[in-house]
């Protein structure tokens, strides 16, 4: 075991995958000479050479579309979109091509490829370096969308994503990159795509989250235990598509109360789907209202520190809503 932060865990897992299998190539803006703007591919160019570490032109549609072609012809591309905010020019490739290739060819063609994209706020990223894009893509059948939030999950799920016969959108929360550290095994291991994970066990209510908000939930849960003796179970969704309904529902049935916390704009966000699932499947197990905490329905967070804070749900807000729900 080694203590690592999220970005180092991703770097190391990707490095190991490249070292183990020469079908794995990385492509994207600044992944070569610069080693990635977040340093995820630091040292790769020197070690693996420019045929496998491809600095691309500034063209996200081509980054994804060329990865499609590579995946069709025996490679295992890991494409990087520098910031999730810049994935929109590739939306057609992601939705019309990546997600539909297997279905439209009746299973004849598959796309073993990964698209990595750093997402989320809390880094002074303002409107175009802070976005949450998961809901756009989790809505699309044929695309796996994962949102690991710890070093252990990030490294393990990246291995699973590279080994997956289908395309995976691998979303890495930027704020967690260097904020969150944890123990990571030195031997290769995989964390399967699909299953959610109970990150903290509890009995009074269930908080369901992912990304930076997961860590806020864990902190709020610890505070409630300490200050009020309230036991909060925290479920890390980890994979948004396919969604692990069973783990979520089992937790909600146990505690009888549920809240979903996400930083994307609240309306039509992933939390809406999770809350709807609970309402459909576990309504009569509930002892309190379903609570949904999301970012406000404004285009994005501002650059000014106080505007950014005003956008993002924080530990105080989450703890207050937890307390309210627990006492309902």
């Amino acid at each position: 075991m080694t203590e690592k932060n999220v970005v180092t865990a991703i770097h190391d897992a990707l490095h190991d995958a490249m070292a183990a299998d020469d079908r794995v190539v990385v492509l994207g803006e600044d992944v070569g000479a610069r080693g990635g703007v977040f340093r995820v591919t630091q040292g790769f160019l020197e070690e693996f050479g420019e045929a496998r570490v491809i600095d691309t032109p500034l063209a996200e549609g081509a980054i994804v579309g060329i990865a499609v072609g590579m995946a069709l012809h025996g490679l295992l591309p890991v494409a990087e979109i520098e910031f999730a905010d810049f994935i929109h020019p590739a939306f057609d490739q992601m939705v019309s091509e990546v997600a539909r290739m297997r279905y439209r060819s009746n299973g004849d063609f598959g796309l073993p490829m990964v698209v990595r994209a750093p997402w989320g706020g809390g880094v002074h990223g303002a409107l175009y370096h802070s976005q949450s894009v998961e809901a756009f893509f989790a809505h699309v059948p044929g695309l796996k969308v994962v949102v690991p939030s710890t070093p252990y999950d990030a490294a393990g799920m990246l291995r699973a994503a590279i080994a997956d016969p289908d395309p995976v959108l691998f979303l890495e929360h930027k704020r967690t990159y260097r904020l969150i550290s944890g123990e990571v095994p030195d031997e290769p291991y995989a964390v399967p795509i699909g299953p959610a994970d109970v990150k903290r066990e509890g009995t009074d209510l269930t908080a369901i989250s992912y990304g930076l908000m997961l860590h806020h939930c864990l902190e709020a849960a610890a505070r409630l235990e300490r200050e009020h003796g309230i036991s909060v179970e925290v479920v890390d969704v980890r994979t948004l598509n396919p969604l692990d309904r069973e783990t979520i529902l089992a937790s909600v049935r146990k505690t009888g109360k549920a809240m979903v916390v996400y930083e994307d704009n609240r309306t039509y966000g992933a939390g809406a789907e999770i809350v709807a699932t609970i309402a459909e499947e576990a309504l009569f197990d509930l002892d309190g209202p379903l609570v949904r905490i999301g970012g406000p329905d404004v285009p994005a967070m501002g650059f000014a520190t106080n505007l950014e804070h005003a956008f993002l749900p924080d530990v105080d807000l989450i703890a207050a809503r937890m307390l309210e729900l627990a006492r309902f």
């Binding site: 549609g61 579309g65 060329i66 990865a67 590579m70 490679l75 057609d92 439209r104 299973g107 063609f109």
Partner: protein, 339 residues
């Protein structure tokens, strides 16, 4: 500026035997007759949607002929009946797609007709958004070179596709890495109804190749041998590691964009009639008659034979099973392999 390929090359100099020439001719006639039958089936209410090829047979068969089955990769677009026939699809396959049958090799009846694909034949599945297949062709070409193979990718599209940003992105990347891919623009002067002068300020799409650092060639798309000559040279360059070529074949489509289009709203009958006088099939026929590869009675007899076969394949395809609605949920993701 793009090169204009105007020199006459004899079939012999191109390495084409009399059998090759007859096969090329038969493939062109097959494409035309498949098209005519499909429109008839549309009017009969048996084929909900038809994408015609007529007029494009010369540039499609001519360019596709320079690739090799089992070795090279085909990335066509929806009008490429001629290309996929050369790649190994049969009229039966095409009619299975037209009727959306379970055995449609492209999609099992999921996609609209003419959205080709077959792993076995090396034809890459494509969608409807225009030019979306271009980066796939380039990515495949990258993988070919990465794996040390000597295959070449052929990529076909209309001039309308060249307005899309992704078209530029794909050609730019191919140029940077000098990849083994040939881009073939079938310029029929209309993006559905939008005439070329409303699509671009230039006369020749092939001029754009200069911006990507590889050659652009303009060729008469109604001259199948000229198209073959241009493609053969481009494929040889690509195989030799000398990078991509953009070939622009000037052609025309005789029918509306699709069976749902009415081209009388945007082009005159006189213009269509004028274009039909340059029919690539009639033109090739004259060449083959002059060469003695065909005799005077051959064209009629060949057409009759193909027509009979086409009619038989239509009946067989019509009788083939429809997709099972229970398969709706299959192939969203890979299915577990039986142990």
């Amino acid at each position: 500026m793009a090169t204009r390929l105007t020199r006459r090359t004899s079939p012999e100099a191109l390495g084409l035997s009399a059998d090759d020439l007859r096969s090329m001719y038969r493939t062109m006639v097959t494409a035309r007759l498949v098209d005519e039958a499909a429109f008839r089936l549309n009017r009969q209410g048996k084929a909900p949607f038809v994408v015609p090829v007529s007029g494009h047979e010369g540039c499609q068969v001519g360019t596709a002929w320079a690739l090799e089955r089992g070795r090279d990769v085909w990335v066509p677009y929806y009008r490429d009946v001629g290309v996929v026939l050369v790649a190994g699809m049969t009229p039966y396959d095409i009619f299975l797609g037209l009727f959306a049958k379970a055995d449609d090799p492209s999609s099992g009846g999921r996609q609209m007709p003419n959205h080709w694909g077959s792993r076995r034949l090396g034809i890459i599945s494509h969608s409807s958004p225009i030019a979306s297949q271009l980066p796939h062709a380039v990515g495949i070409a990258y993988a070919i070179r990465y794996r040390g193979e000597d295959a070449v990718v052929g990529s076909w599209f209309g001039e309308g596709a060249t307005s899309e940003g992704i078209w530029h992105e794909a050609l730019n990347f191919a140029g940077i890495h000098r990849l083994p891919v040939v881009f073939v623009c079938e310029n029929n002067r209309y993006a559905i109804s939008v005439a070329q002068n409303k699509q671009m300020a230039i006369e020749d799409v092939a001029d754009r190749a200069a911006a990507y650092g590889f050659p652009g060639v303009v060729v008469d798309g109604n001259d199948v041998l000229a198209c073959y000559a241009a493609m053969k040279e481009a494929v040889a360059r690509a195989r030799a590691g000398e990078g991509p070529t953009l070939i622009e074949a000037k052609t025309y489509r005789y029918f509306p964009h699709t069976s749902d289009d009415d081209d009388r709203t945007y082009r005159s009958r006189e213009e269509v009639e004028e274009a039909r006088r340059r029919d690539p099939i009639r033109r090739f026929e004259r060449v083959l008659l002059d060469l003695g590869v065909l005799t005077a009675s051959d064209p009629e007899q060949i057409a009759a034979e193909i027509k009979e076969d086409v009619e038989r394949r239509i009946d067989e395809a019509w009788a083939a099973p429809d997709p099972d609605p229970a398969t709706l949920y299959r192939h969203v993701f890979a299915e577990p392999v039986d142990p």
